[in-house]
Symmetry: C2
Subunit: 149 residues, 2 copies
């Protein structure tokens, strides 16, 4: 599976989240060319404070040894928050492919400072989808990133 297909899985999961009434941020984890897991933000669906797109994807991948993470790329529709970036650093995932960072950006410098390769696709469809969603759901979005209304 190539990067474009793995990213499409993350974006499809974000759109599924939106259809569920959730926050539309999705992620996928590619290891040795195979999709190990897909995930999406579960704040609304599970009432969760820790299941963001990337962390939910890593949770769905299950308990893995360091050697698996070392061969992985994580795809995410939105630039990671500090929690998700910290999770990527904990497990030493060497490469992060980001759909867009115009609606949010908090951790790319931190990731790069630890040697993580950060690729920003600047995907127009993702950007428009998420911008429209934020405009319709400002309070939920602020809650998700720990900001006051």
């Amino acid at each position: 599976m190539d990067d474009a297909t793995a990213y499409a899985a993350a974006l499809a999961s974000a759109r599924e989240g939106m259809a569920e009434g959730g926050i539309p941020i999705g992620a996928s984890l590619l290891v040795d060319g195979e999709l190990l897991a897909v995930g999406r933000n579960q704040r609304v669906q599970l009432g969760s404070a820790i299941h963001h797109g990337e962390t939910n994807c890593i949770e769905n991948a299950g308990r893995q040894p360091a050697s698996v993470y070392a061969r992985s790329t994580i795809f995410t529709t939105l630039s990671p928050c500090l929690m998700c970036a910290g999770t990527i650093l904990l497990y030493k995932i060497p490469r992060v492919v980001i759909g867009e960072n115009s609606n949010f950006q908090a951790s790319e410098e931190l990731l790069r400072s630890h040697g993580v390769e950060v690729v920003v696709l600047d995907d127009a469809d993702t950007k428009t989808m998420f911008k429209d969603w934020i405009e319709a759901n400002p309070r939920l979005w602020n809650e998700d990133i720990g900001e006051e209304d």
Copy 2:
């Protein structure tokens, strides 16, 4: 409730985790002098890659607005990993009280660089408990912190 009592709740949760066969790291969240939540590492119990002591505690606290986190202190038996530190930074928890950092330390500089107050109790009981546990469970511990065996 004072700091010592809140810390005792985190340590008790760590010991409960050990009794369950889990990784003995516990946490508690104090808001306005009341214990909002307690949590512990759930790698073994839930097969989880993201429920560390601190993240499980924050999950157990439920969805909260930024104003609640802003008045909170998180207590943890072990110095936070980068995932847990990132979670503390995401939610702008202003104060972290750590039982011990002699068995593990990865994020105190990052936390302080973001203005978080970091207090290390250097608690002898916690240190001994965790050192003994690591010596008996080196593979599980390495998995939890993303290290190769």
